[in-house]
Symmetry: C2
Subunit: 192 residues, 2 copies
Amino acid sequence: MIEHIKTFVYTIIKPTDEEWNGFADRLKTKNLKAGDILLSSGEVCNDIHFVTKGVMRLYYEKDGEEINTYFAFQNKFMSSYQSFLSREPSKYCIQAMEDCTIVSLSYEDVQHGFNNFNAWNTFGRIIAEQFFLKQQKRVESFLFLSAEERYLELLKTYPDIFERIPLYHIASYLGIKGPSLSRIRKRLVKAK
Amino acid sequence: MIEHIKTFVYTIIKPTDEEWNGFADRLKTKNLKAGDILLSSGEVCNDIHFVTKGVMRLYYEKDGEEINTYFAFQNKFMSSYQSFLSREPSKYCIQAMEDCTIVSLSYEDVQHGFNNFNAWNTFGRIIAEQFFLKQQKRVESFLFLSAEERYLELLKTYPDIFERIPLYHIASYLGIKGPSLSRIRKRLVKAK
DNA sequence: AAAATAACTTAACCTAAGTTAAAATAAGTT
DNA sequence: AACTTATTTTAACTTAGGTTAAGTTATTTT
């Protein structure tokens, strides 16, 4: 399990052995069952998770309806990042959508890394930059694309997402309702 | 001019004198006339700018139409940040909307800071985190709010924005067209 | 296999926002 | 002041997507 994250980290920075061990020693591996809630809204997100198996989702509850804002597949980080950073209660929930294995690091451990190893500061910066770029793309998708174009974009980026994530979860991620996604899919089938 | 950015930096980190000077020595102050283009699309964004006077906008050209994605007022950073980070051509343009004074730092200078001073690595991380949080809010505004609610939110956050930025620029920032913003404004006046 | 539940689609109607163009203001120029 | 030009509003019409509820399929559960 640790191997996955080690490979990932080493594609971004080249820590010394001391730096790597100072990090690896604090990692905690957890197994989750499909449906398990890892973070409920109102709680401060105290960990950043690295998914080594399964899929997780980050979602928001609005008027009794769940709106997904992020899916983390294998080798991706999952966190209610703004709560994690700001130490304020999360408006989001985190749930395992399949049986998952994750490797987690607490806020304190992350800060310890930042304060003691320059390599981790660099790593933290690059991860924050990547998170920014991801959000940037998402803003652009709402600003420049129609729902249909967002759907096609998602299909292109994650061709197999539809085998693992039910359509009604995808609809909310795209910012539309179920019937609307059905209409779009129908339109596209006809167009072919 | 440098004082503004110094105050800003010191609210985030406490650099040593050596660290501060290594940074300050590389800053370049520039004056811009209203309308000046600081970055055209297709160019790699090679600088990060700190606005000490005026307002600047970051915009995208789509089908001959300009869509604003960010306004930087006094004491805010301006950059085509994804181009700056990725070293790829920017899809965005940067323009001064009023006569502006800015303080700029090149990509090379920023990297020099990251590689030589831990405090700058921390600063870079925190700025990236702040950029992420800002984008996060913007994604949420598209996902959870109607155009009218986005308008009201903007009005609350920047009450004086409407005295400095024409409505048609604000419309595109909100993700709607001019006539639509007019309708919203009319609806709100009537509702009172 | 039958029943129950979950996931997806369809249909009818509604509403917000897009589109286009004209009209009304406002702001600058000469 | 008269003339431009830029900005904002209005109007008429179109379209994408929301809403609700009823149907279909799929999947589980028993």
